[in-house]
């Protein structure tokens, strides 16, 4: 607990607690549409947080994170589809498969000294390669997709039914909301704690200057690999959630490069290399997108939404190149005290 809030101004800590409590209370007030948008926000925040571990903290650019979403979704989805195993059991193979894939790509890339744009391209190449393989793999449905059975959308409100809904992830939307919201908070806490350990400081050192970090005796390969594996596992959790929330899986859409890009836009907009940047960015961009969707329907012009989205992104990066959170944090006076100050 101490290391969670150490150095954080009291008002920031209270503010955070209030926001989280409000988010937990949201389903009492909102249902239907608003709740489904909130689910999307939290889902993207989880993915963003995962990507941020790798890029924001350890400085390794990945443009192929859709690979880990897809692997997580298909690992758990296939187990459910073929053997009826639930999501929480499916999470284990999802972690293993995504982590192993991350380790493989990381090892190949870092071992051969591939960095920056080249490494990013390697991640895209693997994601696309796996997408094409999955498109031709009959056991998981290939390009015609895999569909998970949807059942008990409405559940009885007794403890056993609710527990069952959470355990099987088959139930109304608020069940999914609580799962992904808790996932988001868990990711936040995990990353916060990680960044207070030796590993976190090693990552920052590697991000700032890899040669210097190596000269200081940090095993650069090991810690970069660790960043990729942790990031891949967190992303795979998002993938498992995606599988059970959407119930339809197509390699074409789940491994698509659009998905890899979608999840990192929020992080850059929110503030790369910060804890709350990914969350703020995910909420801001999702609501912006939803607002624009409505406007687009209103005016009935296809393409208006994404065009404005592009303009908004350019505006934010022009005026707040470090992202929204560092600016907002200063505005609210919630800057963290440096441990050495």
């Amino acid at each position: 607990m101490r290391s969670l809030f150490e150095g954080v101004p009291a008002r920031a800590a209270w503010g955070l607690v209030c926001v989280i409590v409000l988010l937990y209370l949201a389903p009492l007030v909102f249902g239907g549409y608003v709740l489904s948008v909130l689910i999307l926000c939290c889902y993207l925040a989880v993915l963003g947080q995962a990507w941020n571990v790798m890029m924001g903290f350890a400085g390794q650019l990945s443009l192929g994170h859709a690979l880990y979403i897809g692997l997580g979704a298909y690992a758990s989805g296939a187990l459910f589809f073929h053997f009826g195993l639930g999501p929480w059991i499916g999470l284990i193979p999802a972690f293993i498969v995504a982590g192993a894939m991350g380790a493989l790509i990381g090892w190949l890339g870092f071992r051969f000294g591939i960095r920056g744009v080249y490494f990013a391209l390697l991640t895209i190449a693997f994601a696309e390669f796996v997408r094409i393989l999955f498109d031709h793999w009959g056991w998981i449905g290939g390009s015609s997709g895999m569909f998970l059975l949807v059942q008990n959308r409405n559940i009885d409100m007794d403890a056993a039914s609710i527990a069952n809904a959470f355990w099987t992830l088959r139930g109304p939307n608020w069940v999914f909301y609580y799962v992904i919201l808790t996932g988001m908070v868990a990711c936040l806490v995990t990353v916060r704690l990680l960044m207070r350990t030796r590993v976190g400081y090693y990552w920052l050192a590697i991000r700032e200057d890899q040669e210097a970090a190596q000269a200081m005796g940090i095993n650069v390969l090991r810690y970069k690999l660790l960043a990729v594996v942790i990031s891949a596992m967190m992303t795979a959790f998002g993938g498992v959630f995606y599988a059970f929330y959407n119930n339809t899986l197509y390699p074409e859409s789940i491994f698509s490069i659009d998905r890899s890009i979608e999840l990192l836009l929020g992080v850059i907009i929110g503030g790369i290399g910060t804890l709350f940047g990914p969350i703020l960015g995910a909420f801001a961009l999702t609501w912006l997108g939803e607002g624009l969707s409505i406007t687009q329907e209103w005016f009935d012009i296809a393409g208006l939404k994404l065009l404005t989205y592009g303009v908004a992104m350019l505006a934010i990066i022009l005026f707040r190149p470090a992202g929204l959170w560092p600016w907002l944090r200063r505005l609210l006076g919630m800057e963290e005290r440096r441990p050495d100050a």
């Binding site: 391209l121 390669f129 094409i132 012009i301 350019l314």
Partner: protein, 291 residues
């Protein structure tokens, strides 16, 4: 077992399409080689070029090959304006910020085109669309032959520009040593604008050539950005001959994969090749060895 002519036929088709791919990739390679900026909107610029050629064909009735000067000039001006107004501020910014800027530009281009032209596929039917040359046992489509010749001629022109004109040499000086170029008094910002313009013009010209072979829709861009990237990495970033070699190689490997295995698996060939090259020769087949 297919007759041997079949493979030759596919290889030749691949070489012809590959030259157009090379034209596209050369633009990306020039921009990265000089400015160290990855143009994530390159495929979208190609699509803009395709629509440009379509527009010229519909309004003026001009053959897409003859439309190249017009489309290339417009794309050049667009590239210069983009560099001057937007990208110049991010030249020294971290990679992820440049990435976001160009993704924003790509989104605006794609959806702007969508708003103007709608999502339907459009094509250009030239009078010689179904004619072909007969060379020995092979039939070569006129369209592919002409576009390959035009692409190779344009690449040769660019080669001459970079090796035999003062501006071209100055741009290469910026690429080799940015600070050195500034010290000897080159106007780096202006040269960058020209470079980005040339890169965009390459994409535009490639668009003119490609519209004769495939239909265009506003959302093709991302795939071609990826294709251009693959080619450039395989050939070697910043090397024009590398981009040419990479383009031909990808063209042939796609055509071969189309007949050897399922056509839907054809891009796995390119990505497999890309992974191999990245691991074994990270600087590309013809790239400079950097320390």
């Amino acid at each position: 077992m297919l007759p041997i002519e079949f493979y030759f036929d596919a290889a030749i088709k691949g070489l012809l399409t590959g030259s157009v791919y090379a034209m596209l990739a050369v633009g990306l390679s020039i921009i990265f080689g000089v400015m160290r900026v990855v143009n994530f909107a390159h495929g979208e610029m190609l699509v803009a070029g395709m629509f440009g050629a379509y527009l010229v064909f519909v309004t003026l009735g001009l053959d897409p090959i003859l439309a190249i000067p017009i489309v290339a000039l417009v794309m050049f001006l667009f590239g210069v304006a983009l560099q001057r107004g937007l990208i110049d501020r991010f030249i020294t910014a971290p990679e992820h910020q440049q990435f976001l800027v160009l993704i924003g530009v790509a989104l605006i281009l794609t959806n702007g085109l969508d708003m103007i032209f709608g999502p339907d596929a459009r094509n250009v039917q030239v009078p010689y669309a179904f004619a072909s040359f007969e060379v020995g046992p092979f039939f070569l489509d006129n369209v592919r032959v002409y576009s390959a010749i035009a692409a190779l001629a344009l690449i040769a022109l660019l080669y001459l520009f970079f090796n035999h004109t003062l501006t071209g040499k100055a741009i290469r000086a910026c690429a080799d040593n940015n600070r050195g170029a500034q010290v000897v008094g080159l106007n780096v910002s202006r040269l960058y604008a020209i470079t980005f313009g040339i890169g965009a013009a390459c994409a535009g010209a490639a668009g003119c050539l490609l519209i004769m072979v495939i239909d265009v829709t506003p959302h093709l861009g991302a795939d071609f950005t990826l294709l251009a990237f693959t080619i450039v990495i395989i050939g070697g970033l910043g090397s024009m001959t590398g981009a040419l070699l990479g383009g031909l190689l990808i063209g042939v490997s796609e055509a071969m994969a189309g007949i050897l295995i399922q056509p839907s698996l054809k891009s796995s060939f390119s990505f497999g090749l890309l992974i191999l090259v990245l691991l074994l020769r990270p600087n590309g087949l013809l790239g400079k060895r950097s320390s």
